[in-house]
């Protein structure tokens, strides 16, 4: 086999691990979404907001919607996991948190290579994503 081909095709160890985590994470969350959606629609786990109510309110802005349904915002949904609709958040959150987890792997890799610049960039990214996830920015409205 051509050595240059090997060189060009070669993905770094961190890339491989990142890819492995992602592929398992993404498809797990899709599978979970399928299950929770079924539980939701079949009413095996009754939702917090009635299905028909949603159809009357989804034309309204999010703030109004939250008010009228008394829905939690931010991380409040955690307390409502036993409700069919909020149960589906598990899948969404899994997707949204994947990148943060994968970046931890990157940080480890860059630290080992003593690549301070990229370690810094990766850490900053984790900070940005975590801040966004925390709900500190613009959550709750005013």
């Amino acid at each position: 086999m051509d050595e240059r081909e090997k060189l060009a095709r070669r993905a770094s160890k961190e890339q491989i691990i990142y890819a492995n985590i992602l592929v398992v994470g993404v498809w797990s969350s899709i599978a979970i979404m399928g299950i929770t959606y079924f539980l939701y629609l079949s009413n095996i786990m009754p939702p917090y907001v009635d299905l028909h109510t949603i159809t009357t309110l989804w034309g309204k802005g999010v703030k109004e919607y939250l008010e009228l349904t008394h829905s939690p915002h931010g991380w409040g949904w955690v307390y409502f996991l036993n409700k069919g609709d909020f149960l589906n958040y598990i899948g969404f959150v899994l997707l949204a948190v994947m990148t943060i987890i994968c970046y931890l792997v990157l940080v480890k890799g860059y630290l080992a290579k003593k690549d301070w610049l990229y370690t810094g960039i990766a850490v900053l990214e984790i900070v940005v994503l975590s801040l966004a996830a925390s709900g500190l920015f613009g959550s709750g409205g005013h």
Partner: protein, 268 residues
């Protein structure tokens, strides 16, 4: 705490190039050995531990590719680089290789690289066929499954490889001039009876199909963990590939999308 120096073997019939490369390599702290032809190189490799070999392809007598194959038969862990360029190009190639993490001292053992690849088990596959084009096509297909197959153009080469590397699966073409496929398989099994083999009796596309089927069934057999996990991983891999192809297509690179999704498709 200084790590042991790595031994680099440079092989090139052009003495001037050889010397300038040797200089550069010594500056990067390698122990450098030189050879102007394949025979010399093999002699050196059989007498001393060589970690890395940089070999020129264009040489009278034994060409670079053959030298590398033989070197690897002697020492399978040896990292090798084949120089295919000319003049300045060649020098650049060699220098880049030395600079690149391909020769990263931490990763000098290819074993750890393989581990990083969550592939369907770490098995060595040997392909034997007198047709280099077919060898390449099949080899590409196997590489996509995450393996680096070993190749041999005839029975003799195959046996040499077999003597130094543990091979779990051999795919052998029946129609070969020197030793026919059946004979090769018999010999291979004499060296290691546990090897799984597949004899290719077809021609052209038929042959490729045969080989691919062999690979797929051999994978299932290899998965002692219960072929459920093997099957599961196969589905994941297939989803991964398709979504990657979809991603490429969506953002405007449809040619490459098709290549990712269906690598054996003939170019229009």
């Amino acid at each position: 705490m200084k790590k042991d120096k790595l031994t680099l073997l440079l092989v090139d019939d052009n003495e001037k190039f050889l010397n300038s490369m040797a200089e550069r390599a010594r500056m990067r702290d390698y122990t450098v050995l030189t050879a102007t032809n394949g025979e010399q190189a093999l002699e050196i490799a059989s007498k001393q531990t060589v970690h890395i070999a940089v070999v020129d392809q264009q040489m009278p007598g034994m060409e670079g590719l053959v030298v590398i194959t033989r070197l690897k038969a002697i020492s399978p862990d040896m990292k090798t680089l084949l120089l295919t360029g000319h003049g300045d190009e060649k020098l650049k190639e060699a220098t880049e290789a030395l600079n690149s993490s391909y020769f990263d001292k931490e990763n000098i053992s290819g074993f750890w690289d393989f581990l990083a690849n969550l592939s369907l088990g770490n098995i060595n596959i040997l392909l034997v066929d007198d047709n280099p084009k077919f060898l390449r096509t099949l080899s590409d297909r196997i590489k996509l499954k995450g393996h680096d197959p070993l190749t041999a153009l005839n029975g003799k080469q195959a046996l040499e490889i077999m003597k130094s590397t543990r091979v779990q699966l051999a795919i052998v073409d029946q129609r070969m001039p020197d030793m026919d496929g059946l004979e090769v398989i018999t010999q291979l099994k004499k060296i290691d009876p546990s090897i799984k083999t597949m004899l290719l009796t077809g021609h052209g596309d038929e042959k490729l199909k045969e080989a691919t089927e062999a690979l797929n069934s051999a994978y299932f057999e290899k998965e002692d963990m219960g072929s459920f996990w093997g099957f599961f991983r196969k589905i994941l891999k297939s989803l991964e590939t398709s979504m990657a192809a979809a991603g490429m297509a969506e953002d405007g690179d449809q040619e490459d999308a098709i290549k990712i999704e269906d690598p054996l498709k003939k170019d229009k």
